[in-house]
């Protein structure tokens, strides 16, 4: 996979390659935003706006200070704070920083990725695996996963929660 700084430099030089960054980071950014504001629709709006804001500011982005993804997530966090402020969610707005940390982008080695994939493959029952893959890797919303599985939305929440407990034990 091409280094993100190479893509950014190419865009700065006039290449039409911003879509590569959007594709690369959109799933995680939507999840990050969803953690902060709750609703999927709002989360997608915030993620989209974060991509736009990052694009507008791309020429000012300094890769020596932060990775692009960290910078992008930071923009989304700020947008989420604004969103909550507009809705006058007082405590949540201040606490959002705490939540944000939990889904900020992480950088892991290939070996660890393999371990995670292996652990996900081994999830039981298989519905847990499907839910994890659909949400974290295929970018589907809870509702979409629920519709496809033919189960209530809360069941998907439960599956994900239990799946992550299994993963936590497996990966610890």
């Amino acid at each position: 996979m091409m280094n993100e700084n190479e893509i950014i430099n190419a865009i700065r030089d006039g290449a039409d390659r911003y879509e590569e960054l959007v594709k690369r980071y959109h799933v995680g950014l939507i999840i990050h935003s969803e953690q902060l504001v709750g609703g999927r629709d709002d989360a997608e709006d915030i993620a989209q706006e974060a991509f736009v804001r990052a694009y507008l500011q791309l020429e000012h982005f300094d890769s020596d200070k932060a990775r692009f993804s960290t910078w992008l997530y930071r923009i989304a966090t700020n947008l989420a704070i604004d969103h909550l402020r507009k809705q006058k969610h007082k405590v949540q707005v201040a606490d959002i920083e705490l939540l944000a940390e939990a889904t900020m982008p992480a950088y892991i080695e290939e070996e660890e990725k393999l371990q995670i994939h292996k652990a996900v493959t081994g999830l039981m029952p298989p519905e847990y695996r499907k839910a994890i893959e659909a949400y974290y890797w295929h970018g589907k919303s809870y509702q979409e996963i629920a519709d496809e599985a033919g189960v209530p939305l809360n069941t998907i929440r439960t599956w994900l929660r239990r799946a992550k407990l299994q993963l936590k034990e497996e990966l610890s």
Binding site: I11, R12, D13, G14, E19, K23, R24, H26, V27, G28, I30, I31, Q35, E44, D45, A47, Q48, E49, F51, V52, R53, A54, Y55, L56, Q57, L58, H60, D62, I75, N78, L79, I81, D82, H83, R85, K86, K88, K90, A94, D95, E97, L98, L99, A102, T103, A106, I108, E112, K113, I116, H117, Y136, W137, H138, G139, L160, K164, L167, K168, L171
Partner: protein, 487 residues
Amino acid sequence: MKHTIDQQLIAANSDSNHANEKFVARTMQAVAKVGTAETFNNLVPKDSVIKKETLRMKVHNLRLRFNSLPRAVAIAIIIGSTGTVGAAAYATYRWIVPKVTITNVQQNNDDNKKQYTVNSQCGDFRSGKALQYEISKSSSLTDQEAYKVFQNTCAYDALATFMGTRWPSDDGANKKVGDVITQYNYLNTFAGSTAANPIFGLTIGKVTAISPTTVTFSTLLYSVDNSAHADPSKPYRDYYPNGKEFSRTLMLAPNVEVWANGQQIKLADVKPGDTIQVVTRTQNKIQYYEDIKQNALGEQITFDVAGIIKTDIDTKYVADDAAQIGDPKIVNALAGIGPCDGNPQYSCVSVSNQAFGIVYGHDDSPAQDKLNKYLRKDITDDKKVKYFRLHGRVTAINGTHVTLETRGKKASFTVDLPYDAIAEYNQPKPVVTDLDRSRALGVTTGDLIEVVYGQTTEENHLAIKPGDLELFAVIEQTQPDGSLAKY
């Protein structure tokens, strides 16, 4: 640093190229849109920090895609302004400046702060019912300034009430257009956000020019355009710490209504230097928050002013977090005082968005195990379990066991944290932003803490167990010099 399961799963996603193609397509459409935007015109601040010209020149390929949109799209979303509003039917509604008086000033209240008791015709700000306020220890707010905050915030609230009555909003207006014009949905989301540019929410200010067809007004906006500080080195929530002047020009509807002192007046009575609040509309629909600035071709959409209210409000003293017009150094220094939820015998303060969460349970956070497992699961199902709130100063920290005193030292209470959250929070942190500086102070004795918890009415409210905890947050912090700051 150990990553959360969410972080690990997201990071392990080796190929998300085809994950959510609709989102990617929609986002690229939005990027193309701003990449070609020519006309922020008078919508941008005078010394705009948005510099997209260089980049815009480089995205000609995106521009081509964007310009291929049917012309009819652009025509269809030009906003009309042909409707009329019958004033007579609403003549009973009046905008009258409410009165506010300070009835008592107490130099040292039970929390050793200056306290005001206020008599107001329009309720208070922040705290819901109480009409008592105290000044932050770190503030040098004068009595006169405090009074201005009470008066101007009250007037601003009453003005909003009047506007909502005289010009009811119609949320459906935007949706109707959006259903037809795909691009409009994006514009409605992006351009309508004060996060994108604070001027999008600007509807009050001093008139700098007025004619029979247009009005130009300007005002100071303070900080809070968080999204604009894309540069992580910029201080959080401190973007315009001393205010930044924004100016805006709007078209006037042919039958614009102008009000002052509870009466309709003539447009000619509005002069440069007057402070006005405007009510804008598109397609004859009143809209207060969702101003649309550009059509699908990046052209500015004209929308008009249906109402103008002359007012004496001094925006600098308006304590409305969303409006961004109040000087945070002034308005955030005042906290409302009222009974704590569920514990009315003790007092709690209501502050602006300044608390730091140390621990909290949150049932809506499926991805964060740590935050999930501490909230009582029966809190929403079992009606006997209710939320309670307490504010108290930390008197002792012994691992996970924290002892606090309620405001005024009326009672001592304890919180058993679900993990050693304070030690974890007090770990050294890098300081990059203003927010980091406060967070780096950590939690210590003397800090004022907000605790929200769920218990049955029979339980001991002064002994809070880990499973009860919904929130443990710092409101007021002990500074390195021993003074108190924040809120």
